[in-house]
C-alpha cells in the first residue's frame, strides 16, 4: 500500500491568558491509501487539533506549531504557502465537520456550496459545476436532487445536512477524507445511514478516511486501524483487532470497560475511569494518564514512557509493557465477573 499521509512528531500549542496550552504533544502516525483510520479520545485529548493542523485550519495566533512535519503524498504541507496549500486543501483532502448546522453557510443555497469547490479546484464552468453538484447530491442519497440544489441549509434535516457536507467534501474526488465526529450530532438511525454511506463511498472511490469519534462501536464497525489519544498524545495505536482484543494501555482498558455491553443478558456495573483529564497548561512530566491509572508505578510519574512495540504496527505508550514491569493482565469487566462467579461456586 502506498503512503498517503505521514505525520511526524507534531506539536501544537495555543497561547491563552493562562499560559500556553500544549494541545498536541508529539504525535506521529500515517494513513495509507484507501484505509480507514479512527482517532478516539476524550474532549481535550487533541484529536481535533491534530486533524485541523493537517487541514491548516488552526488560527495562528493563538495557535503555534512547535514542530514536526506533515507530509501528504510525500510533500511537506506543514508551513507550506497558502497557494500551495490551496491545491491540496479541499481538492485532495476533504473534511466533514461535526455540526452540519454551523458548518454550512446559511445564506447560500446548498447546491452552490457544493459547486463552489468544484469551480475553484477543477476549473469547471458554472454550468458543469451545477451538473456535478446535482450528481454529488444524488450520490449521497438525497432525493429530488435538482430541487434540493436550490434549497438553503435550514430546509434540510440534520441527516441531510451531513449528507450535503459529505457531498461538498467529496465533490473534488479527494484522496483523503477527514471526518471529525461526523455522526455525533445525529440520531442513531440517521447515524447508521451516514456511516453506511461513508463506507459505501470509501469502497467505490478508494478514498482514505480519518475518522474522529468517541464512539467505540463506530470504530469497531468502520475502522481498520485505531489511534487512541490522551492528553495531547497518542497512547496506543494498532489494528482494530489488536486494539479491541489485545489492548495494552490502561486508558484503552478503561475506555473499553466504561461502555455498556448491549448484547449480554445481564446488567453489569460499569467501571468508569476515575478522575478527570490532565491540565494541559502544565502537563505532568511523566505519563499523562498516571494520575488516573490504577496500575501507576513510581516511574510513571517521573518519566514519560516511550512507545513499546507490542506487535506489528501495535504501539503502546505505557511502562507496563517494559520487561521489568510487573505483569498486569487486562481483564474485561465481563470476564472479571465471570471469574468471581466461578470462584464463589468453588
Amino acid at each position: 500500500m502506498s503512503r498517503l499521509l505521514d505525520v511526524n512528531n507534531l506539536k501544537v500549542n495555543f497561547k491563552t491568558y493562562g499560559g500556553e496550552v500544549k494541545a498536541v504533544r508529539d504525535v506521529s502516525f500515517h494513513v495509507d491509501k484507501g484505509e480507514v483510520v479512527a482517532i478516539v479520545g476524550e474532549s481535550g485529548s487533541g484529536k481535533s487539533v491534530t486533524v485541523q493542523t493537517i487541514m491548516g485550519l488552526i488560527p495562528m495566533p493563538p495557535g503555534i506549531i512547535k514542530g514536526g512535519s506533515i507530509k501528504f503524498q510525500g510533500k511537506e504541507i506543514l508551513g507550506a504557502s497558502k497557494r500551495e496549500l490551496r491545491k491540496v486543501k479541499g481538492s485532495k483532502i476533504g473534511m466533514i465537520f461535526q455540526d452540519p448546522m454551523t458548518s454550512l453557510n446559511p445564506t447560500m443555497i446548498v447546491g452552490k456550496q457544493i459547486a463552489e469547490g468544484v469551480i475553484a479546484h477543477q476549473k469547471l464552468s458554472k454550468k458543469e459545476a451545477k451538473i456535478k453538484a446535482i450528481e454529488m447530491l444524488k450520490l449521497v442519497g438525497i432525493p429530488n436532487a435538482e430541487e434540493r440544489y436550490n434549497q438553503y441549509p435550514h430546509e434540510f434535516s440534520g441527516g441531510m445536512r451531513q449528507r450535503a457536507m459529505i457531498a461538498i467534501a467529496l465533490a473534488c474526488n479527494p484522496e483523503l477524507l477527514i471526518a471529525d465526529e461526523p455522526t455525533t450530532a445525529l440520531d442513531v438511525t440517521i447515524q447508521a445511514q451516514v456511516l453506511e454511506l461513508m463506507k459505501d463511498i470509501q469502497k467505490k472511490t478508494d478514498t482514505a478516511i480519518i475518522l474522529i469519534t468517541h464512539d467505540l462501536g463506530v470504530v469497531a464497525e468502520t475502522a481498520q486501524r485505531v489511534i487512541v489519544m490522551y492528553g495531547g498524545m497518542m497512547v496506543e495505536s494498532g489494528t482494530v483487532y489488536e486494539l479491541f482484543e489485545n489492548p495494552r494501555h490502561p486508558y484503552t482498558w478503561g475506555l473499553l470497560n466504561s461502555i455498556p455491553d448491549v448484547e449480554g443478558p445481564e446488567k453489569k456495573k460499569l467501571i468508569p475511569i476515575e478522575g478527570s483529564p490532565p491540565d494541559l497548561f502544565s502537563p505532568p512530566k511523566g505519563c499523562p494518564f498516571a494520575p488516573r491509572c490504577k496500575f501507576a508505578m513510581d516511574i510513571c510519574v517521573e518519566e514519560m514512557p516511550g512507545n513499546f512495540e507490542i506487535g506489528e504496527g501495535h504501539l503502546a505508550k505505557c511502562w507496563l509493557n517494559d520487561s521489568r514491569a510487573p505483569q498486569v493482565e487486562h481483564v474485561f469487566a465481563r470476564e472479571e465477573e465471570k471469574a468471581i462467579a466461578v470462584g464463589s461456586e468453588k
Binding site: 476524550e42 447508521a192 470497560n257 466504561s258 478527570s276
Partner: protein, 328 residues
C-alpha cells in the same frame, strides 16, 4: 374473575409512583399549525424502578419529561403522583408535589446559572422551600456535595471552574437538595465523554439505592438505557410505540421501529457477526403533519395497507410487553 382483575388493578396502582393518563401536549407554532409533541400517552412508572424513555430527536420524549414534572402544563390528560391527581390539586399542594419531583437536564453548561456560586445553585430548592437556614443550610450543601463526589470547598466556586462531568454532578446535587422521590433525568449523559458517562451513571445508580429514588431516564443512547433501566418505552413522533422490560426489549423487539433502532447501535466488537442492518430510509416526517394511521409507516419496512388507514391499537402482546403495531 372480575374481582381478581380489579384487585390486580388496585395492586398495580399501589405500586405506581407516577401514572400518566392520555397525556397530550400540543404546541401552536403558527396559526393553524400545531405540533403534537406528546399525543395521548399513557404509562405508569413504578416505585423504585428506572423507566427508560428512548426515541429520536423530535419524538417528544423531553416534552413528556418536562410535562410530568410540571415545567409545562399539559394540553389534556392526567398526571397521578402517589395516588393524587396533580393537575387538580390546589397551588399549595401542587408545590409540595413538585418538591418531590425533580429534573436533571442534558446540558450541564446551559443549566447552571454562570453568575451564581455552586453552593447557592444547589441551595436553590432549599431556599425556595425554606428547608434550612444559616449554618444548617451550609452543612446541607456540604452534605450534598459529598453525596455527589465533590468537596466542600467547591461550594464557593462558579460553574465555569468545573468540567462537564462535575457540572452534571452539581445538577444532580441540586435535584437531590429537596429530597425528591422521583427524578426525571433528561439525557443526563449525552453531553459527556464516555469515561465520564460511566461515572455519572454509577453515581445515579448509587443514589437510587441510598435515597430510594425512582427515575424517568430519557436518552437516545440505547446501550446506556439498557444498562440503567428496568423497563423501556420507545417513542416516535409523540406516540408510544413499544413498552416492555429492558431485557425483553433487547431480546425480542416487536415493533419494526424498535428493531431498526436496536440494529442501528454500532457494536464495540470488530469481529461481531455483521447482522443485516435495518437501515431506515429517509428522515422522520415533520411533526406538524404526521402520517395518517401509524406514524411510522412511511419508514416502515413492513408497512401494509391498513397502516395508512387505521391507527394501531396499544396492545399487550406478551406479558408486560406492549406494542402499537398492526403486525400483532
Amino acid at each position: 374473575m372480575v374481582e381478581k382483575i380489579e384487585e390486580a388493578g388496585k395492586k398495580n396502582t399501589a405500586e405506581n409512583l407516577v401514572e400518566i393518563h392520555s397525556l397530550k401536549k400540543y404546541f401552536n407554532i403558527k396559526k393553524d399549525v400545531t405540533v403534537k409533541s406528546v399525543d395521548d400517552i399513557t404509562i405508569s412508572i413504578r416505585k423504585g424502578e428506572t423507566f427508560g424513555l428512548v426515541g429520536e430527536s423530535g419524538s417528544g420524549k423531553s416534552t413528556l419529561g418536562k410535562t410530568v414534572v410540571g415545567l409545562q402544563s399539559p394540553t389534556s390528560g392526567d398526571i397521578i403522583y402517589n395516588g393524587q391527581n396533580v393537575l387538580q390539586l390546589d397551588k399549595e399542594a401542587q408545590r409540595n408535589v413538585n418538591k418531590e419531583m425533580q429534573i436533571i437536564f442534558q446540558d450541564p453548561h446551559a443549566s447552571l446559572n454562570p453568575r451564581m456560586r455552586v453552593g447557592d445553585i444547589i441551595a436553590e430548592g432549599i431556599d425556595a422551600y425554606k428547608l434550612f437556614k444559616g449554618k444548617d443550610r451550609t452543612n446541607r450543601i456540604y452534605e450534598l456535595l459529598a453525596q455527589v463526589g465533590l468537596r466542600p470547598e467547591h461550594a464557593k466556586r462558579f460553574p465555569h471552574e468545573f468540567s462537564g462531568g462535575q457540572r452534571q454532578r452539581i445538577g444532580i446535587a441540586r435535584a437531590l437538595a429537596v429530597e425528591p422521590k422521583f427524578i426525571v433525568a433528561d439525557e443526563p449523559i449525552s453531553a459527556l465523554d464516555v469515561s465520564i458517562q460511566a461515572q455519572v451513571i454509577n453515581l445515579m445508580e448509587e443514589l437510587k439505592e441510598s435515597e430510594g429514588l425512582t427515575y424517568l431516564f430519557i436518552a437516545h443512547d440505547l446501550g446506556m438505557v439498557k444498562h440503567i433501566s428496568d423497563r423501556i418505552g420507545v417513542m416516535y413522533l409523540g406516540k408510544m410505540m413499544e413498552l416492555s422490560n429492558s431485557d425483553d426489549m433487547f431480546r425480542n423487539p416487536l415493533h419494526p421501529y424498535t428493531q431498526a433502532l436496536l440494529s442501528a447501535i454500532p457494536k464495540a466488537n470488530p469481529r461481531a457477526v455483521k447482522k443485516e442492518r435495518i437501515v431506515l430510509q429517509g428522515d422522520p416526517p415533520s411533526p406538524t403533519a404526521p402520517p395518517s394511521g401509524c406514524r411510522f409507516r412511511t419508514r416502515c419496512p413492513h408497512a401494509m395497507e391498513i397502516c395508512a388507514l387505521q391507527e394501531p391499537q396499544w396492545k399487550e402482546v406478551e406479558d408486560e410487553h406492549w406494542v402499537a403495531c398492526h403486525l400483532y
